[in-house]
């Protein structure tokens, strides 16, 4: 199972660009104070360079929009699997104190199971049951997603 790296790569690239721009700005303040910050004379003089520059900026805009949409939506929250949730409920019916269950397939990369319990619930027994039986039973009804790695999130509510 591979941890999601997309946001880290994007943040790292943006940070490196900002670091370079800030360093260049501090150098230009001392070395060339009369230079324009955005000098586009070369682009204005060459139609080819202008076209390629415009296309690159449009590509960057589309890539950033795709990154934004994926970060906000489907890749992050995934889609709920009602059948999997029902099977999880059946598998955990012997455990007292289970409050809420949810099974989601996130981006076709992994299955996320969320279990919320009351404070007195036997969490150890619940974790063992999930590890040894419940997860495999849920996988059995997920069809094409049955081979995906599973991440289980246990939470205990206040009261």
């Amino acid at each position: 199972m591979r941890p999601p790296l997309g946001d880290r790569i994007g943040i790292g690239v943006a940070g490196a660009v900002l670091l370079w721009a800030g360093g260049y700005g501090l150098w230009a303040l001392q070395a060339r104070p009369d230079l324009k910050v955005f000098d586009l004379e070369y682009l204005a003089g060459s139609p080819w360079a202008r076209s390629i520059g415009g296309a690159l900026v449009a590509l960057l805009a589309m890539a950033a929009t795709r990154w934004l949409v994926l970060s906000l939506g489907w890749r992050r929250y995934g889609s709920r699997e009602g059948t999997g949730t029902a099977m999880l409920g059946v598998a955990l019916q012997s455990v007292d104190g289970v409050d809420r269950l949810q099974v989601r397939v996130v981006g076709g990369r992994r299955t996320e199971i969320t279990v919320r319990c009351r404070p007195g619930a036997p969490l150890g027994e619940l974790a063992r049951l999930l590890d040894r039986q419940a997860v495999s039973r849920v996988r059995g009804v997920l069809g094409p997603y049955s081979a995906l790695p599973v991440v289980v999130r246990l939470h205990v509510r206040r009261r």
Binding site: D7, I11, G12, G15, V37, T65, P119, G124, L154
Partner: protein, 235 residues
């Protein structure tokens, strides 16, 4: 203050086995004393393969549960998208030779490095850039506390708040404990119990045992030292 370490079933059983072997070997110690000692040391030492496998699984679980930096990613993606679409609109406007009233390009294109705001802009870019690179590089604290699993493709984690609540519930199960607060630190779990009871020694031990038992059933990865503090209720 009482420090109690969660009991480890395997460690206890290994220890018991070691004691049994020592008592059995004691009868023959006059024959092969050196052999007896090395056997005890081998039994008490953690099995290297098992320790390595457990360490690998713990590292793998921590890596999977590491934060993905989604909020920072959303912010950077939004700023980048807005800026790139704005520049694209400016380029299209230049191609069509149809200047808009809200265009910022003329003012920005005349800007030079002599402008008094430029040092601050450059400094801010450096600071934000360094922050983003640090966010991208540093692993960060896992979102969930990983639990031991048998199956390799399954990672089970409990939220830090959930762990605090279940440990507090275990501490409150002890007679005489009126309130319980749990703090999770790196390698240490601090349980503060508020009580009116006079029997402090027993209460400390009972709370430590209850929290240790709960930790043992949860089977968290790594060593967690339990520190129990007792506080008297203010009247």
């Amino acid at each position: 203050m009482l420090t109690v370490e969660p009991a480890n079933t395997r460690a206890i059983s290994r220890h018991d086995r070691a004691k049994a072997r020592v008592s059995l070997a004691g009868r023959a110690a006059h024959v092969y004393p050196c052999v007896t000692m090395s056997t005890v040391e081998e039994i008490l030492a953690p099995a290297p393969a098992q320790t390595a496998r457990r360490g690998t699984a713990a590292r793998r679980a921590a890596r999977i549960l590491r934060p993905g930096r989604a909020p920072a990613g959303v912010a950077v993606a939004a700023v980048t998208a807005v800026t790139a679409w704005w520049i694209t609109a400016e380029v299209v406007e230049a191609w069509l030779a149809a200047p808009r009233e809200w265009s910022l390009a003329p003012g920005l294109l005349e800007l030079t490095w002599r402008n008094p705001a430029m040092p601050y802009v450059a400094g801010a870019a450096l600071a934000v850039g360094a922050l983003l690179v640090i966010l991208a590089v540093i692993p960060g604290r896992p979102r969930l506390v990983p639990l031991e699993t048998v199956e390799g493709s399954v990672v089970i984690g409990i939220t830090r708040q959930g762990l605090r609540r279940t440990l507090a519930a275990a501490a409150l199960g002890v007679t005489g404990a009126d309130l319980a607060y749990v703090r999770l630190q790196s390698g240490q779990i601090e349980v503060t119990v508020v009580t009116d009871a006079r029997r402090t020694g027993d209460l400390l031990r009972e709370v430590g045992a209850a929290v240790g038992d709960r930790l043992q059933t949860l089977a968290l990865y790594g060593r967690h030292e339990v520190v129990v503090r007792l506080r008297r209720r203010r009247i």
